[in-house]
């Protein structure tokens, strides 16, 4: 049974160092900064279930992320509006995520970048103008 759309009231995540986030709302840049204090700078091995993930932010998709029953945001009829391709081998200023599981989550004001093969998978899930 789908968790979407998320209609519950806003509930801000209280512990950003947790490994499981369930039915809470998170600013991705706050999450990144919290984890960066440990010189990690990488959101890794987290599970997000029934969460609203909030920007503005560009999420860098690395290996091992899984998305199940997620709403990636309003693409305005063209999934490419949610995607940016990195011009170089790195993508500074983005929020890297690796080995994370997203179940029944909504992304708000978030763009996505990463390796071409991952972006192509993302393009395949949504509407695209020819």
């Amino acid at each position: 049974m789908s968790r979407l759309p998320i209609t519950r009231p806003v509930r801000v995540a209280s512990d950003l160092t947790a490994t499981l986030f369930e039915d809470v709302d998170l600013n991705l840049f706050t999450l990144h900064v919290t984890l960066h204090e440990g010189n990690i700078g990488l959101v890794q091995g987290r599970t997000f279930r029934g969460c609203r993930l909030l920007g503005p932010a560009i999420l860098l998709l690395s290996a091992g992320n899984r998305f199940d029953d997620c709403n990636f945001g309003d693409p305005d009829g063209d999934m490419r509006n949610l995607i940016l391709r990195p011009s170089g081998p790195r993508a500074l200023g983005t929020i890297p995520m690796r080995d994370c599981l997203f179940e029944g989550c909504e992304f708000h004001n978030i763009g996505f970048t990463g390796p071409n093969e991952l972006l192509d998978q993302l393009l395949a899930v949504g509407p695209a103008k020819s």
Binding site: F29, L84, L92
Partner: protein
Amino acid sequence: MTDTITLPVLGAGPDYTGLKIWIPQLILEAVQRGEGVIEGKTFTDCQFDGPAVIIPLGQCHFDTCDFGLSRGDMRNLLLSPMGANVNGAIAFKDCTFVRCSFLSVGYTGSPEFLHEMTANVAGAPQ
């Protein structure tokens, strides 16, 4: 539990001088004022911190700015939009940046802007 950090209010400007600016805070304050875009501001001797990807709109000017550690290749700071619109980037419209520095900030925008960044900024590949 996560500790709470309280930051000084940046305010509406339009002139910001000698400030350390966490870009997410700048946009959150703008949203609270009902502004969807940071427009018509002048930043002088400010240090901008991300994580953030910014998109300059209209007539933005960068005068003697340090765009950040590009790790030898300016393209590491740049992202190309795939569609006509861009989600997740922070828009600055008609803003001027004088002697500002940027840390953990990426840039996106029109092909012309991205080309100008790679062609004219130190750290561009030869």
